[in-house]
């Protein structure tokens, strides 16, 4: 049985060095590009013929749009709708990253700390930029909740900052852990299919069920990641 962690190994495809840094195009990069290409292709095909009464294919992007839009409105208010493209892209990028990773011999970039952490960092920077743009210097009051005596500021502010910085960390760990565990489980059970010979039908059937479950988990995790991003965006837009 092969090592179930092997599937997470990054393999360089096109080695690239720039300024002393290794920015090689790897299997992880390939699946990031594929997530963009597949989502763009899906949207292009589905939105090719747009009609007032939508066809089944046209309903897919429209349903996704309505879903993410209502999610953003519910969690961050109508004011946050101007940042809809960012949240929509986050949802699609994570969802396609998760789903593409379910294909055999594919690579799940959302199971990697650097990729998901990078995305969470982008979301954090986005929120900070919005917060500063909206509240100017008042943004720093985010770390000093209303009604707290000034004397407690040296104690409260570091706690609030840690809490603030732990948001992208928790986002990253949640998604990475879910994706990693799911794929390890799939790999281990798949290993039993060959090892058990004819009896391998049982783990094969079980694995098929797990794949369906993993599809659900992939979409659920994209949803959770998006909801939390909406909530953090809401914190940046509205007062503490």
């Amino acid at each position: 049985m092969s090592n179930p962690m092997e599937q997470f190994n990054i393999q360089p495809i096109i080695p690239i060095k720039a300024g002393g840094y290794d920015i090689s195009f790897t299997n992880s990069s390939l699946f990031m590009v594929l997530a963009v290409v597949v989502s763009a292709l899906l949207f292009t095909i589905c939105l090719r013929k747009r009609t007032i009464v939508p066809s089944l294919s046209q309903s897919i992007p429209e349903a996704l749009y309505e879903f993410v839009s209502s999610l953003l409105k519910e969690n961050a208010g109508a004011e946050a709708l101007r940042y809809f493209p960012f949240i929509f892209t986050v949802f699609l990028f994570v969802a396609f990253g998760n789903l593409l990773g379910l294909f055999p011999y594919s690579f799940t970039f959302t199971s990697h700390v650097a990729a998901v952490g990078g995305l969470s960092l982008i979301a954090l920077m986005f929120n900070i930029c919005i917060g500063i743009k909206k509240k100017k210097w008042g943004y720093w009051r985010t770390f000093m909740p209303n009604g707290i005596p000034l004397a407690l500021a040296p104690l409260i502010m570091p706690i609030e900052m840690i809490s603030f910085l732990s948001k992208p960390f928790s986002l990253t760990v949640r998604l990475v852990a879910n994706m990693t565990v799911g794929h390890i489980m799939l790999k281990i059970i798949a290993g039993f299919v060959l090892a058990l010979g004819v009896g391998g039908v049982v783990p094969l059937l079980f694995n098929s069920c797990i794949v369906v479950f993993e599809i659900f988990i992939a979409l659920l995790q994209a949803f959770i990641y998006t909801v939390l991003s909406c909530i953090y965006l809401s914190d940046a837009i509205h007062s503490h």
Binding site: M5, Y21, D22, T26, S28, S29, L47, P61, Y65, L92
Partner: protein, 161 residues
């Protein structure tokens, strides 16, 4: 764990930035405007239909009101016509009743006159017969001392009493 290997951190972050921001560009500049446009068109169409439906509802309500008004007017006119017919009929009946009463009264008067005439005639007859019978009786009883005029006067007296 390969996930914690820092060798590929920069590469992954670099490609993540390229892919994510390219996708953000595609979504915000190409796909989202297309979806937004078709959703807005649909909403406008729905709003138009709602406005039309509202107008049609108002028209229907107006027509219903007109119908009710016309119905009320027609009912009032029918009642008026019915009342006029009833009055006309009553007048006609009264007129006919008067005519019949007049005819009846005339007949009654005529009958009474006939009765009176017959009665007078009968009385006259009775007078004559009584006179004749009295004369016959007198003749038979040979009461010549009694004058005819006395008998006449006596009968006249009896009859008048």
């Amino acid at each position: 764990m390969p996930q914690l290997n820092p060798t590929w951190f920069i590469s992954q972050f670099f490609w993540l930035c390229i892919c994510f921001f390219f996708m953000l560009f595609l979504m915000s500049k190409v796909f989202i405007p297309k979806i937004k446009d078709i959703l807005e068109q649909r909403q406008r169409k729905i709003d138009d239909y709602l406005v039309k439906a509202h107008q049609l509802k108002e028209q229907a309500e107006e027509s219903l009101k007109k119908y009710h008004d016309a119905l009320a007017q027609a009912t009032a006119e029918a009642n008026k016509a019915l009342e006029a017919s009833r009055a006309e009929m009553n007048a006609y009946v009264a007129k006919k009743q008067d005519e019949a009463a007049q005819k009846l009264n005339a007949k009654l008067a005529e009958g009474e006159a006939q009765i009176k005439e017959t009665r007078e005639k009968a009385i006259k007859e009775v007078k004559n017969v009584s006179q004749e019978w009295a004369l016959d009786i007198i003749a038979k009883l040979e009461l010549n001392k009694i004058d005819a005029d006395d008998i006449k006067n006596s009968i006249k007296k009896v009859v008048n009493d």
